[in-house]
């Protein structure tokens, strides 16, 4: 009995926190908008019993998903989000890897402090930190003040409200998610492997590519997914730091939901987004499984 509950608990959470909400969203995506409370039809009426249920089911259709294909806005927004997510994941990796590497190679007594510094920003609200970047990046902001004071530039740079600011914000926000898994994989690494590689004729650089990177692979992949998945649906950073022309699916979803009050179509956008996300998640899981098989027995 106890064993049953032990095994059932994670499935119960999965059901309660993922599957049930998903099916509610999926059900709404098959409905039609209406000016009512709630703003869509049909609604399931339990009092009518089976005829009510079948009546409810016949009114559901995939029309909203068809609509997503009629306007190029949607796939362009998905693509634009994907592009931003891919590029920012890559940039975060570029910034995060050296940090993780430096931490893993630091003296063991310094490592807890360095880890703490990486986690420290989480102690402040995410919104406040993004607002702080507005103060740094604006034309009158600290960045321009410093650059102008040191006479590196003459007139202020326009960074805020550009894609550059969005990437800076994303890299900053998601950096810990990249650093921590890579650090975990690098820290475990036996340094004599690098000596062995050098001994067998590798330069330091090729030893890095042939040994360090493959061994950090699991961490790199985990980090990339931890950044990629939330960035794909990101809305706060582009709306605060980006210009109005930054097209992202999160923003489109917001407009469908709030401006058009079209909950069913917004739900359809969300369902498709989830499908777009599930593909990399499955790839990720398969990789994990393979890794575990390789490391296990």
């Amino acid at each position: 009995m106890g064993r049953f509950f032990l095994i059932a608990t994670p499935y119960f959470w999965l059901l309660a926190l993922f599957l049930v909400p998903f099916f509610i969203v999926f059900k709404i995506s098959l409905s039609d908008p209406d000016i009512a409370i709630p703003p869509y039809v049909p609604n399931l009426n339990w009092n009518e019993g089976w005829p009510g249920l079948s009546d409810f089911l016949t009114q559901l259709d995939f029309e909203n998903f068809g609509f997503l294909l009629t306007d190029d806005l949607y796939w362009k927004a998905y693509l634009s989000s994907l592009r931003i997510a891919v590029l920012s994941t890559f940039l975060t990796l570029l910034v995060g890897f050296p940090i993780a590497y430096g931490m893993a190679r630091a003296e063991p007594r310094w490592r807890p402090t360095l880890l703490l510094l990486i986690i420290l920003p989480f102690w402040t609200s995410f919104l406040i930190r993004v607002y702080a970047w507005i103060g740094i990046l604006s034309t009158e902001g600290y960045l321009n003040q410093v650059l102008q004071f040191t006479r590196i530039i003459e007139s202020p740079l326009t960074v805020l409200n550009t894609p550059t600011a969005v990437y800076i914000g994303i890299i900053y926000t998601y950096l810990p998610f990249m650093v921590l898994p890579i650090y975990a994989s690098l820290e475990r690494m036996d340094l004599s492997l690098l000596e062995a590689a050098e001994d067998l004729g590798c330069s330091r650089i090729s030893a890095f590519w042939l040994i360090t990177v493959p061994l950090a692979r699991a961490g790199i992949i985990a980090g990339c997914f931890l950044v990629f998945i939330p960035v794909l649906g990101e809305i706060v950073i582009p709306s605060l730091l980006g210009g109005s022309d930054t097209l992202m699916i999160g923003k489109v979803l917001w407009e469908e939901f709030f401006n058009n009050r079209d909950w069913p179509l917004a739900s359809a956008v969300a369902v498709v987004l989830l499908i777009v996300l599930i593909i990399p998640i499955i790839l990720f899981q398969r990789n994990e499984l393979k890794q575990r098989e390789a490391e296990g027995s």
Binding site: A36, P38, E140, S244
Partner: protein
């Protein structure tokens, strides 16, 4: 769940509703009242006032449409109110419980009746216009002393905007405010619901889009106040707030708000009672309290917005009643227009057009 647990749940729910009879829950815009008034209401009525704030109509609407918001009084803007009435979100007011309603200003009430025929569901709290906020010092520097800073041509004429782009132009990210303004600039009916007419707005924005730094719901308040931008098209109250912040900070420039001389869009924030309000009795008491001339005057004196209460005007301070940016003069007042909400299909066209204007897609 067994029967005992179920009945216990019912008891708890009933107990909760008994408690709420002593409470009035109000959901209003942030920074929109003098908080002394809240204490005063509690003292006068003996009711507990729970006062929550929101910062977008969409957020309020989502709560209302999801049902069971738990609020007794909410304050949507007129265009949103109309659709919410259609959705059955509100209950009719019992004017017999609102003796202070005789104080209301017919000029405003006539207009709000467009959204709420006969004002059956709502009373006006505050109103204002959508217009142009200008950093006079910087704009004069760029365009010369006789620039028409109160005209729509300031923001829709590319030759002006090309110069202004260097110091920064923001527009409020609200198609229902901006598209009527563009139509007004073209001489079309700003309240048109005809998709073909609405589509004409696109060209107006396309011509100036490269010079607009950002469309955002509220960022222009700070940006205008600290001089990062020099022109913002937005809500009167926001721009006045920016003006005051700049003055408080001792910035060496002057910010001014003008309703567009071609005609300005007028908006109304309406107080209404949700259909499922737990305490409609208390809600009526709150509405009646707000319509007391001295009370609403105190609110206006605090937030610097015009209200829809004629009797309150004698209690308004000079800074408010004499500022034409808040209480426009008679001619401007005649020139103000209102819009009605778009039907669902047209709303989709408008949102889509707005996305295209902003992102080019």
């Amino acid at each position: 769940m067994n029967f005992q647990v179920f009945s216990l749940t019912v008891c708890v729910a009933m107990a909760a509703s008994i408690v709420s009879a002593q409470e009035v829950r109000v959901y209003n815009w942030s920074d929109y009242i003098d908080e002394e008034l809240l204490t005063k209401f509690e003292q006068e009525t003996g009711l507990d006032l729970i006062y929550d704030v929101f910062d977008s109509n969409e957020l309020l609407e989502t709560k209302l449409l999801a049902g069971q918001s738990g609020y007794d009084v909410v304050v949507p803007t007129g265009t949103f109110l109309q659709r919410q009435i259609q959705a059955g979100a509100f209950q009719k007011l019992d004017y017999s419980k609102l003796p202070n309603s005789t104080n209301l200003w017919d000029v405003v009430a006539e207009r709000t009746a467009q959204y709420d025929p006969g004002n059956q569901y709502s009373i006006n709290y505050m109103w204002g216009t959508t217009g142009i906020g200008v950093n006079v010092t910087k704009v004069t520097e760029l365009l010369g002393g006789n620039a028409s800073i109160g005209s729509l041509s300031l923001v829709f004429d590319p030759s002006n905007m090309e110069k202004l782009a260097t110091c920064g132009v923001h527009m409020v990210d609200a198609p229902t405010e901006m598209i009527p303004a563009a139509l007004q600039y073209l001489g079309e009916d700003p309240n048109s619901h005809d998709p073909e007419v609405i589509a004409k707005a696109e060209a107006v924005f396309a011509a100036v889009r490269p010079y607009i730094q950002k469309f955002h719901s509220a960022e222009y308040i700070n940006s205008l106040a600290n001089g990062e931008i020099c022109v913002a098209f937005g809500f009167s109250g926001d721009i006045l707030q920016a003006r005051d912040r700049a003055a408080e900070a001792g910035n060496d420039f002057e910010i001014a708000y003008n309703p567009p001389s071609e005609g300005a869009l007028m908006w109304f924030d309406q107080m209404a009672i949700p259909a499922d309000a737990p305490n409609p009795e208390g809600a009526h008491q709150f509405l009646n309290f707000v319509m007391d001339p001295e009370n609403i005057a105190q609110a206006s004196n605090y937030v610097y917005y015009a209200n829809g209460n004629l009797a309150s005007q004698e209690f308004l301070i000079e800074d408010v009643i004499s500022d034409t940016a808040i209480y426009p003069d008679a001619t401007t007042l005649d020139n103000l227009y209102t819009t009605t909400p778009y039907p669902t299909r047209t709303q989709r066209v408008v949102t889509r057009l707005w996305t295209k204007i902003k992102s080019g897609t």
